[in-house]
Symmetry: C2
Subunit: 423 residues, 2 copies
């Protein structure tokens, strides 16, 4: 397959104007300027081409009840969310995940990193959607041994499930929820399994001041210092939020090669604080970008994350260049996940997004336009492994209308009516 792009925005190499891409077996085989007459005739022409965006932290099923828990700080928000989650069936999780995946596809997200329960249902949904997924069952043991065993068992079941079926675009990861909800024993066991089976780890870290204090009280150390002390940090971990980090903790993360997922909108919405992004960029921490769930966002839109974070930095008189945000949303994630995605480069997977200029991208100024001005209305094509999933408003692999209908019905018949009864 041939693609000719007016502008190719690569996260690291720069901007390539009027290049030809040759895609074979889902892989980018060639990138060059010279084009034969036949190639030109057969090629699909696109205005702007970027690597697919990676949503490095989310909880897909939660879109099913977006808009129901509004305007609380995290500490009050969580119990309300847990109340709803108690009522979620496996099918709810399946349809909630599918709903999110339709939105991700629409918005140019080609890879999602997820942590939730009923994660088998999430895996099924991701597989159907055609997106790439790094999925984990979220474990919480609160220091209790029997709970720990149960959680590890669930994880093992999930690992089996993923390896048993044909999930070609999905990798399992390990998901200890966080240092404040998981015991040292659980964390060390996770680390052991990670090494043995070569699995990435997804975990929440230092989202609020309160949880930092909790760990400090229990362990005498701040969360990242504590993880360092117990030998947890090895570069395989993808740590979400990192809002409250000391200078020393940033140094540790940089030294260990740990990845940190920035979730700017969720952090603002839940009054959690502002992550020290410009400091982490300066110290060379591998930064990724995530939406968190639609219940603390209320969108799954990486353009919004990039712009909002840059605005918050500017409000503090700091500047993180737009190309850095673009890297967080693409190539840095590829690096963290250990897979050739997030760059337009020979040998990389053909996970690509096509944009059209529209009035908001005129005049076109490369990364500045993409990060500060683009929005989902510019997206006209989304491809994973060379397979087109979305084109000119049409979903080519999934029945999006049916999914939206089903999700809306599950919400109204189950979750919302219960809520109403409570209210």
């Amino acid at each position: 397959m041939y693609l000719i792009a007016e502008h190719i925005l690569t996260p690291k190499r720069g901007i390539l104007n009027n290049y030809l891409l040759v895609i074979e077996n889902g892989t980018i085989k060639q990138i060059r300027r010279r084009k034969s007459v036949e190639e030109k005739r057969e090629a699909k022409e696109v205005q702007i081409l970027i690597p697919g965006l990676v949503n490095s932290h989310t909880h897909l099923p939660m879109s099913l009840f977006r808009g129901t828990v509004e305007d609380f700080p995290l500490s009050e928000w969580l119990p309300k969310v847990w109340d709803i989650e108690k009522r979620l069936s496996r099918k709810d999780c399946y349809y909630g995940a599918l709903l999110s995946l339709v939105e991700c596809t629409r918005n140019g997200i080609t890879t999602v990193c997820d942590m939730y329960f009923h994660e088998e249902e999430v895996a099924k949904a991701v597989q159907e959607s055609g997106l790439r997924g790094f999925l984990s069952y979220g474990m919480i043991d609160l220091g209790m041994e029997d709970l720990r065993e149960k959680e590890l068992e669930e994880t093992m079941k999930f690992l089996d499930y993923i390896s048993g079926e044909k999930f070609d675009r999905i990798k399992a990861t390990l998901g200890p929820h966080s240092p404040y909800t998981c015991s040292k024993e659980l964390l060390l066991e996770v680390k052991r399994i990670s090494k043995e089976k070569n699995l990435k780890i997804q975990m929440h870290i230092s989202e609020t001041e309160e949880e930092v204090m909790e760990v400090k009280e229990r362990e005498g150390l701040r969360p990242v210092e504590y993880l360092e002390k117990i030998g947890f940090l090895s570069g395989e971990e993808i740590l979400s939020h990192g809002v409250h980090l000391s200078e020393r903790e940033i140094s540790i993360l940089s030294m260990r090669g740990s990845s940190v997922v920035h979730n700017p909108i969720s952090n603002l919405k839940l009054s959690s604080g502002v992550a020290p992004i410009s400091e982490m960029v300066e110290r060379g921490v591998n930064l990724l970008l995530g939406t968190d769930s639609a219940v603390s966002n209320n969108s799954l839109d990486m353009f919004q994350e990039m712009k909002v974070s840059s605005l918050v930095m500017r409000s503090m008189g700091k500047t993180v260049p737009p190309e850095r945000y673009f890297q967080m949303a693409t190539s840095n994630a590829g690096k963290a996940l250990g897979i050739k995605i997030g760059e337009v480069e020979v040998g990389y997977r053909a996970d690509l997004v096509f944009l059209e200029k529209g009035p908001n991208l005129v005049p076109f100024e490369g990364y500045i336009s993409l990060v500060y001005s683009a929005n989902p209305s510019n997206i006209v094509g989304v491809m994973v492994d060379g397979e087109i999933l979305f084109q000119e408003g049409e979903y080519l692999r999934i029945d999006a209308e049916r999914i939206l209908r089903k999700a809306e019905r599950r919400y109204h018949d189950g979750i919302r009516s219960e809520e109403d009864k409570m209210g």
Copy 2:
């Protein structure tokens, strides 16, 4: 013309499900539940219907050089912008305005309030676009009498121009730039003309701490106190920014019925500060919403403004309900401008926007979904005075492609090459 809407979101009355709208001569004639078979057959069906959004503060021609002045605070940003503005021809202003108007149309903005120079060109562009415009020539006298006379003369010429030609959707307003760039004499003369000719006034107010201090040094009072003292405030004025306001100043604005335009993204981007929105809402100040220019934004997208402001409020532990933001973007503006727009109500102009749900608006939770989750990809129709300007991706009144091409060329041939020479 008949419209049947699954959901009508009105800023004040609430949400109406499955209603019929009858539109005659550009006006909403009827809203009712009962529909005849014929009405149903002839009606255009829409999923979500809202009043057209009002961008209450912008500088339309500036989109022509968006992306060129990035990451400076206002005090350093302004001289760089002035350097570019010196090179702008009348035609540049015309095409810059048209470029912005294509984006506004695409994004469901049906009314724009503008202040710039070569404002006749802006008026021509607005008229061609079919949008509604409240336009002013921006006056600055810096205390100099001859400059003051020249500026007032320019304004008079602009008023003549507007009244002379057939500008049916445009009203002239008066545009003294701000209390720190305009003398008392100019402000009082503006007030006199406003009363005599029944014209609204657009002005910047208290955008930065520095300008507040400048006025305080010169007049011994903060800007709003000063305007109150000289008798400038009467409710006809639409004051943009209002970032640095004391409690006393908020009281004055509330008492006088002045309108304040909140420009959250521009204020963050230029490190100006955060406007006391929840305080102003509490005190009953008539709040509007604006994008400012695309050079300090870099979009003209009212959904972004609503969401970003709500997030910044939440980050401070404050909550401004979504319906309030929706009012700022619609009905409050209608009130400030003294015209029946910004509400879906009998007797109001048929300035309407149609949205389709898409995955990001499922489940649909009314104002919450609109303010926290909607984006321009949901917009499928835009109407002013009952005339459809945008429908399913097509611009029915303007040649958008030609405008984008022309604007891009003017940028590259004029502004950018000069910039490059300088750099």
